[in-house]
């Protein structure tokens, strides 16, 4: 039984349920925050006890996440030198390879050993699944770029990175999904790009998405869906099997490494249920990382870390930002939602529900780089980052739809429903409340301590305990700083060491950043959903000085 992944056109009962579920995350977040404030004022003793429990929970969670951050980072580093083309050949000649595998590296060469072991596990799984892939030579990559306000130089850089792919560019289909309402200059630039580079790829298609199609909101999902449909027609006319097409929906500023498509191809081929799988790379924001203020660098690096951590938990991984999937799967679920802002995560849930829980995300340990939200000056950058985070947090709009559809779907196991529902709910509530709890509210019991609390043991022990917890958490901060310095591209300025030192110090502003540029926009988004003030799509301001 198919149910529409939308909040529109619901029956009265469904609409009520939808509204209740829309209110729930925001109400929970506000209840936690206001409740803690009230408790701190009225019952500082109990508030102090609760804060200790919360702080300790946070320390454990941080430590837990840091372990997986390190593991994921290690894995990312081990795959950096991988020859994906060679691995693809192994898949193409699966039986032969499994009988004559490459020499097992020494365990002392840790990176190679784990890479080899993983590769062999994947090949054996593929063989045992019986779901053999098409030949790699049949694979076509369709790269979809939605365009609204992006300058030609930004898109040109993205195109350049695709031209440099180790994957055969004649099997790369570029699609520009341009909004009809875009400036004429933008449209002209796109058409020029098409003219100039069409022969370098399989083709470059340009589709202009008409405005105000009934049933559509002014969202990116509507634009890319329109272009994807047109692309499907294009491929059908040329008798290209949809099963052989991997569609990647990139942001206009996405720049990929030269072996990205080979890496993606490999993972597509080696995944048994490839037509019920999305492929999620690690997004980094390195294109203009040294051109933006320090706080923007810190917060975007933090976002990358989050994705690295999520990559270690594929059972609960959800697609985010630029990602890839089989065109067949996209067609099966009738493309992206055309009335939702968070199309990147919504498409996963749409697929998950459509395939009755038999849909997953495979993390591919390679990066793709985008721009940090930024602008010409510091204040505008704060605004841009805030709005971007709020848009990301608007992914909470999926919660009520997913839960409603879970309630209707009898095929997905109760365990999986509870697991996903809890994770989604907890993630959003934590996102909006942790920053405030740790930075501000946690200190209120001491501030509002009454006489009886002031002369209690806990009024002296609680700050010491919290201090120890925060000092231990500092270890995670140090690890994050070191990793970020390793991940970041080298600065091309005159004193790169100085830049790195400054960047290390910038991480000390993390409590402020977490509160006002992470928790606050999340709370903003949840509050809007709670009040029924649905957000319009806002194209993120990005500012990059392009080097010639």
């Amino acid at each position: 039984m198919q149910h529409s992944y939308t909040k529109e056109n619901l029956s009265p009962e469904e609409h009520k349920l939808q509204r209740v579920l829309e209110i729930l995350p925001g109400a929970t977040s506000w209840t936690i925050l206001i409740g803690m404030i009230v408790l701190a004022v009225k019952q500082p003793l109990w508030a102090a006890i609760l804060i200790i429990a919360i702080d300790l929970y946070w320390l454990f969670k941080l430590t837990y996440m840091t372990i997986f951050l390190l593991l994921s980072y290690f894995r990312l580093k081990t795959e950096e030198e991988t020859d994906w083309k060679e691995k693809i050949l192994h898949v193409d000649n699966l039986d032969h390879y499994l009988q004559n595998p490459a020499r097992k590296p020494s365990p002392l060469n840790v990176a190679e050993f784990f890479s080899w072991r993983r590769h062999h596990e994947e090949l054996n799984n593929l063989k045992n699944s019986g779901e053999l892939p098409p030949p790699s030579s049949h694979i076509i990559h369709a790269i979809l770029f939605p365009v609204s306000k992006e300058a030609a130089c930004i898109i040109e850089s993205s195109l350049e990175s695709l031209r440099k792919q180790s994957f055969d560019s004649r099997r790369i289909l570029i699609i520009f999904a341009v909004e009809e309402r875009a400036d004429e200059s933008i449209k002209t630039d796109i058409l020029n790009l098409q003219n100039n580079h069409q022969t370098e790829f399989f083709d470059i298609l340009v589709f202009f998405h008409p405005d105000q199609i009934p049933g559509e909101a002014r969202v990116k999902g509507a634009n890319v869906t329109y272009a994807a449909r047109k692309t499907t027609d294009f491929l059908a006319e040329r008798n290209i099997a949809f099963k052989n097409v991997i569609l990647s929906c990139f942001d206009a500023d996405t720049i990929v490494s030269p072996n990205y498509l080979d890496c993606l191809t490999y993972h597509f081929l080696v995944t048994p249920k490839r037509y019920q799988t999305s492929f999620q790379p690690i997004p980094v924001y390195h294109n203009n990382i040294w051109q933006v203020p320090g706080f923007a660098r810190v917060i975007e690096t933090g976002s990358s870390f989050f994705q690295l951590i999520e990559a270690t938990n594929p059972e609960k991984l959800v697609t985010f930002s630029s990602h890839s999937m089989s065109l067949k799967a996209l067609i099966d679920v009738d493309y992206w939602p055309v009335d939702m802002i968070s199309d990147d995560s919504a498409i996963f849930w749409k697929c998950y529900i459509h395939f009755n829980g038999q849909y997953k995300v495979v993390p591919i340990l390679t990066t793709l780089s985008m721009d940090v939200a930024g602008s010409n000056n510091w204040f505008e950058t704060v605004r841009a980052v805030y709005k971007q985070k709020r848009r990301w947090a608007w992914g909470v709009e999926n919660f009520p739809i997913v839960v409603r559809l879970f309630l209707k779907n009898k095929a997905i196991s109760r365990y999986d429903k509870i697991k996903h529902t809890f994770k989604m709910f907890e993630a959003h509530v934590s996102w909006s409340s942790w920053g405030f709890l740790l930075s501000i509210i946690g200190w209120l019991p001491i501030f509002y301590a009454r006489q009886d609390f002031t002369y209690s043991v806990i009024s002296y022990n609680a700050p010491r305990v919290m201090g120890i917890i925060f000092n231990l958490a500092g270890l995670s901060l140090v690890i994050s700083i070191l990793m970020s310095l390793s991940l970041l591209p080298k600065s091309d300025r005159r004193f790169p060491i100085k830049e790195q030192l400054i960047h290390a110090l910038e991480w000390c502003t993390l409590p402020l950043i977490l509160t006002f540029l992470s928790s606050l926009p999340a709370l903003d988004a949840q509050t809007r959903l709670m009040l029924g003030r649905y957000m319009e799509f806002w194209v993120t301001d990005k500012h990059r000085t392009v080097k010639r």
Binding site: I49, I52, T63, I67, N313, Y455, V457, I458, Y460, N461
Partner: protein, 492 residues
């Protein structure tokens, strides 16, 4: 990776479920004591000293951290606390620790060992004349005006007053020496206002009484004869520190205003006045009808109204009339010292003490009032609010002999002039028994404490010289100022 994740999740969850309650119990002071094999509710002692960095001994055992420190895991009972620091006298007390309670020993002031006084004058001095919150002290070596010397303890002012042809700033400057006619006068009385650099001296010279207005800190000391502005002899002269141009003189149950700039006299702007004081733009006074009323200094005859509408307070004012001294420490708080020795306030509980009170000192920052009789010193803490069930008044646990004066040091210490002993008393901890002797002083010589530089100015009995003692080091003062600023920023 998925398996590892599940294993780690289970391990972390288990650890959290074990550590979290243990940590909460520890924070509450509930610990397991292996030696007695039982769970015990413990207490803590918080020790903070001025200066910090002192070593704390608990029942003879040294604590692991220097002050400020929290000594935790203490089984309820009594503990001997000893605090030692190099070049400071050892401080000790006995402290009771209760279960789940903290016993704070806040800002224990350590005294130098030995306590040395540094002389300022080269010749003996009879007494000191002080004016609160001013950067100077006057030293008196005799009865005549030529025996009156000014000491500016605030160096920033001292630098401005280099006499001509001198290259080094003075430490003691004669006030009236420059004018031979004035130098032989005899000081009868002086009038001053806290935070005001001006003083008025009533001088008797050649059988004539003269009033001299003096500016003690700006430029060369100015002395102006303002006798003509007082046709009758006032019993009191007051002025607002922010408006020294206008003086208010009190005589024959009336208040007159004098404009120093225009030399205009406005006689009897208020009549039927028993006692008065000025704060800001308001005059507070007790009228002959035995009520405490207030009015504006600009139009005193208009809008005279009761300070408090509380019948209880007004009855007390009526009952304890007349009053020898009024002090408005702010626009909202007024203290009244009755001729019967009673001490009243216009804020609850109104009657602070009913007899024998000789004086009082207000601590603005801590919102505390110290008051004394000849043999007792009491402290009233207004910051804790007024609870009718609880007596907010505490008494220093010490047998004083003849208290003359007391000054606040920081928020919780008093320096008390008791006969010829100069004592320092802690008003918060240790059962209020922490009273230590600082010095032997000349009886009735007065002392002065400067909070800005942490010094007490006194006349030691041994030398008779005008001297000072360092009570709080510059480093500790700086720390205190920084902490105060941080607290103010937090409040903002």
């Amino acid at each position: 990776m998925v398996k590892l994740r599940k294993i780690l999740f289970a391990v972390f969850t288990l650890l959290y479920l074990i550590i979290c309650p243990a940590l909460i119990l520890y924070s509450l002071g509930i610990v397991i004591k292996p030696e007695i094999k039982d769970i015990v509710k413990t207490g803590v002692i918080y020790v903070d000293t001025t200066p910090s960095g002192a070593t704390v001994f608990v029942n003879g055992k040294v604590s692991r951290e220097e002050t400020p420190t929290v000594i935790d895991n203490l089984i309820p009972g009594t503990y001997e606390i000893m605090i030692k620091a190099p070049h400071y006298k050892t401080w000790s007390t006995q402290v009771s620790v209760s279960a789940e309670k903290a016993t704070p020993l806040n800002s224990i002031l350590l005294l130098h060992d030995p306590i040395l006084s540094t002389p300022i004058s080269q010749k003996p001095v009879e007494k000191l004349i002080t004016a609160d919150e001013n950067p100077f002290v006057l030293a008196v070596t005799g009865d005549n005006t030529k025996d009156l010397f000014l000491h500016l303890w605030d160096e920033s002012f001292r630098q401005n007053l280099l006499p001509e042809k001198e290259t080094t700033p003075f430490f003691l400057k004669s006030l009236f020496n420059n004018d031979p006619a004035l130098a032989q006068g005899h000081i009868i009385k002086y009038f001053s206002t806290p935070s005001s650099p001006y003083m008025i001296f009533l001088v008797e010279s050649n059988n004539k009484f003269k009033y001299y207005w003096s500016d003690l800190i700006f430029g060369a000391t100015k002395i102006e004869d303002i006798t003509d502005l007082f046709p009758t002899t006032p019993t009191d002269i007051q002025w607002n520190e922010s408006d020294p141009r206008h003086l208010f003189s009190f005589e024959n149950q009336s208040v007159s205003r004098i404009d120093l700039a225009t030399k205009a006299i406005y006689p009897k702007i208020l009549e039927n006045v028993s006692a008065f004081t000025i704060s800001g733009q308001m005059i507070f006074f007790i009228n002959t009808s035995r009520s405490l009323v207030k009015t504006s200094t600009h139009s005193p005859q208009e809008n005279i109204r009761l300070v408090s509408t509380s019948p209880l307070f007004n009855d007390l004012v009526y009952k304890h009339f007349p009053f020898s001294y009024l002090s408005a420490v702010s626009d909202n708080i007024i203290f009244l010292l009755g001729e019967d020795g009673s001490l009243l306030s216009n804020v609850k509980p109104y009657l602070l003490f009913d007899k024998d009170v000789l004086g009082f000192q207000w601590n603005k920052k801590a919102q505390k009032l110290a008051f004394w009789t000849a043999t007792k010193v009491g402290v009233f803490d207004f910051s804790k609010g007024t609870d009718p069930q609880q007596d907010q008044r505490v008494w220093i646990n010490y047998k004083f002999i003849e208290i003359k004066q007391a000054h606040w040091i920081q928020d919780n210490y008093l320096v008390v002039e008791d006969a010829s002993d100069l004592l320092i008393a802690n008003t918060e901890c240790c059962g209020l028994s922490d009273v230590r002797k600082i010095a032997d002083i000349q009886k009735n010589s007065n002392t002065y404490y400067s909070a800005k530089i942490g010094k007490i100015f006194l006349i030691p009995k041994e030398t008779g010289l005008f001297s000072y003692i360092n009570i709080i080091s510059q480093h500790s003062l700086l720390k205190a100022v920084t902490k105060e600023k941080a607290e103010k920023n937090t409040e903002l």
